[in-house]
Amino acid sequence: MQIASTLDGNRASLSLNGRFDFHSHRDFRAAYEKALEESGVREIEINFRGVDYLDSSALGMLLLLREKAESTGKNVVLCGLQGTVKQVLDIANFGKLFSVKG
């Protein structure tokens, strides 16, 4: 999975591309930890537009990010949900845990 990070004011954006699964662990963590360290960042947006597969360990990584973001007063937003990715997140009811933008 490739991750493109951008910083725009108080929002950090991570655009994911490819399969988001067990093997993405290190890259995903490295990407969000940089965003967490930015004290000006209030919102971390995860863009799934380029993701074609999501497994349960990816859900675990999102939960871990959510916990860390909460402890530093940041909000995690999921966006670009479509197809299988949307289905997996819907079944897990992640809409009740994260802010979701179209």
Partner: protein, 567 residues
């Protein structure tokens, strides 16, 4: 080899040569071992297992070439370099030496400087080799340990999963692991009132780490089911437990279902699993329960919801629960089996076993012999229509023999406690501590549930039982009940139990009273008359109590029930 100090075997029949190599070895900080002929060299190689060998060629008896051949023929655990050190300097001699198993060849006489340089070079090589050997051993010990942990995990998981409850005649199931063993957990057990509870839990990941997350669930599921706790309370407890012990990135998707054949209801809680479905005998999907909660172990107890969805079934059928491993089982073309594909396999089967075999065959065909990427599990519950209106006289208990000490229990609950306490399982938990009452847990659960629900539903909440007779009435009734309970701000229910001896017979007096206005039991008793042909579901509750007890009376204003239960 200790640190960088090498054990060096030196074989030479000439004392001067032995001395030279011995001095060089010692100067470089190594430990020389000396052999004056071939056989001694071979023997010392075996007993001392040196790190490096200097070998002369021309020796009386066994020459150096033969000695090296023999050494190389020995079983070796490590590489031991052998350096020939000989006066023979022909190309053929050198080739012969290397072909016999030598690694290097020095022609005598060599300067001390050259010998020292060679020694240092081999010392570096050997220390590299030692490091590598260390890694290999470490890797091997990790592998063995992982294997051992997997064996333990598989054993414990097998024990936890191999529950008596899964052999219930109403249940068929399979659990195909993606790893050495599955992280999917299937559980089934009967509650005290004959209600069948099943659970299909799928922990994130697979193998040992997934199984570890699922393990704490079994105990809570079985003990709470046995005590008659409602499904919502079981889900809440499982979530509380998992939230407390799992790290943030671990969770367990689960479907819990409660099948009550007597009341013709199926109740489901689904958090993170594919839809549960009810298939009629004709193969029509009459109900689907989508996941409407996050999986267990994520939300703190205050935010968690144990809300379930209950439906009344009016024809026999089968309840299907599965893990995402089944839905996402990949065919040769990468296509998923899908929920629709799963239900289709079941629906098309007309076999007597309700399509279970067809589903397994269809899945195998779909996978085409390849293992699933994830654990694949499924529970199928055959749900019958109970034709008999009376409850089967729960296996008749042998009459209690011997003396009974008097035992008494009185409890009263106000409105605020009634809103959240599971009164019946709590009371039953206390009662079944008593040796004499323990075997009667099932019947007592039914009797106390009916009397308590009667007091709560009609006495305090004023619900109208006839609602249940409408189409979709049960659901409406349960909704009114939940709303009423949420609003309940006054009222009281008291329960008292007296175990005593009466004319040589052990008797339990059960008394349940509420603070409501009471209701017309006369009308109800008329409805019980078999000749009136009443088969309404709501009439069956108290009829059941009457069939299980020796006596049932409604003294006072109709807000008190008194039952006499024989032991």
């Amino acid at each position: 080899m200790v640190g960088s100090s090498l054990k060096i075997l030196i074989a030479d029949d000439t004392l001067t040569n032995l001395k030279q190599l011995e001095i060089v070895s010692r100067r470089a900080g190594h430990l020389p071992i000396l052999a004056a002929d071939g056989p001694t060299a071979v023997a010392l190689f075996q007993t001392e297992s040196p790190d490096l060998v200097f070998m002369d060629i021309m020796m009386p008896g066994m020459d150096g070439i033969e000695a090296v051949r023999r050494i190389r023929a020995l079983p070796a655990k490590k590489w031991t370099p052998i350096i020939f050190y000989s006066a023979l300097d022909g190309m053929q001699d050198i080739v012969r030496g290397l072909e016999a198993g030598g690694d290097d060849y020095l022609v005598k006489p060599a300067s001390t400087q050259l010998l020292l340089a060679k020694l240092n070079a081999y010392s570096r090589l050997l220390s590299l080799q030692q490091k590598e050997q260390g890694y290999i051993e470490e890797l091997e010990s990790w592998r063995l340990e992982a294997q051992e942990q997997a064996r333990l995990g598989a054993h414990v998981m097998a024990r936890l999963t191999d529950a008596e409850g899964l052999r219930d005649p109403m249940i068929q199931s399979f659990n195909l692991p993606a790893d050495t063993f599955s992280g999917d957990l299937l559980c089934a057990a009967r509650g005290p009132g004959e209600v069948l509870n099943v659970m299909l839990a799928d922990a994130a990941g697979h193998g040992l780490s997934a199984a570890l997350s699922a393990m704490p669930m079994t105990q809570a599921f079985y003990s709470m089911t046995a005590k008659g706790f409602p499904l919502a309370s079981i889900a809440e407890e499982l979530n509380r437990k998992l939230k407390a012990i799992l790290p943030a990135d671990r969770f367990v998707a689960a479907t819990l279902a409660s099948i009550d054949v007597r009341n013709q209801t199926v109740e489901v809680w689904n958090g993170g699993n594919p839809d549960a479905a009810f298939l009629t005998a004709e193969g029509k999907v009459s109900m689907q329960w989508a996941s409407n909660h996050p999986p267990l172990g994520i939300l703190p107890p205050a935010l968690f919801s144990g809300d379930t969805d209950t439906v009344v079934f009016h024809e026999p059928g089968q309840l299907v629960l599965c893990s995402d491993g089944l839905v996402e089982a990949e065919g040769a073309d990468g296509r998923w089996l899908g929920l629709a594909g799963t239900l289709d396999l079941l629906a098309r089967a007309r076999e007597a076993d309700g399509g279970f075999a067809a589903l397994r065959e269809g899945l195998e065909r779909h996978l085409g012999g390849r293992p699933g990427r994830d654990d694949i599990s499924c529970i199928l519950v055959q749900v019958p229509m109970e034709r008999r209106r009376e409850v089967r006289a729960a296996s008749p208990m042998p009459r209690h023999q011997g003396r009974v000490e008097e035992w008494q229990l009185s409890l009263a609950f106000g409105a605020s406690e009634l809103r959240y306490i599971d009164v019946v399982p709590a009371v039953l938990g206390l009662m079944t501590q008593v040796e004499v009452l323990k075997p009667h847990q099932g019947s007592l659960f039914l009797v106390i549930s009916e009397l308590f629900n009667n007091a709560l539903d009609h006495g305090l909440l004023g619900l109208d039982s006839s609602t249940k007779n409408l189409i979709g009435g049960w659901e409406i009734y349960m909704q009114h009940r939940a709303e009423g309970l949420g609003r309940l701000d006054h009222g009281r229910i008291s329960l008292s139990f007296l175990l005593r001896e009466d004319e040589g017979r052990a008797v339990l007096d059960i008394d349940v009273a509420d603070s409501g206005p009471g209701f017309d039991h006369e009308a109800w008793l008329r409805g019980l008359d078999p000749s009136s042909g009443d088969t309404r579901p709501h009439g069956r509750g108290l009829a059941l109590v009457r069939s299980l007890c020796a006596d049932l009376k409604f003294p006072g204003d109709g807000n008190r029930a008194r039952a006499r239960y024989l032991l």
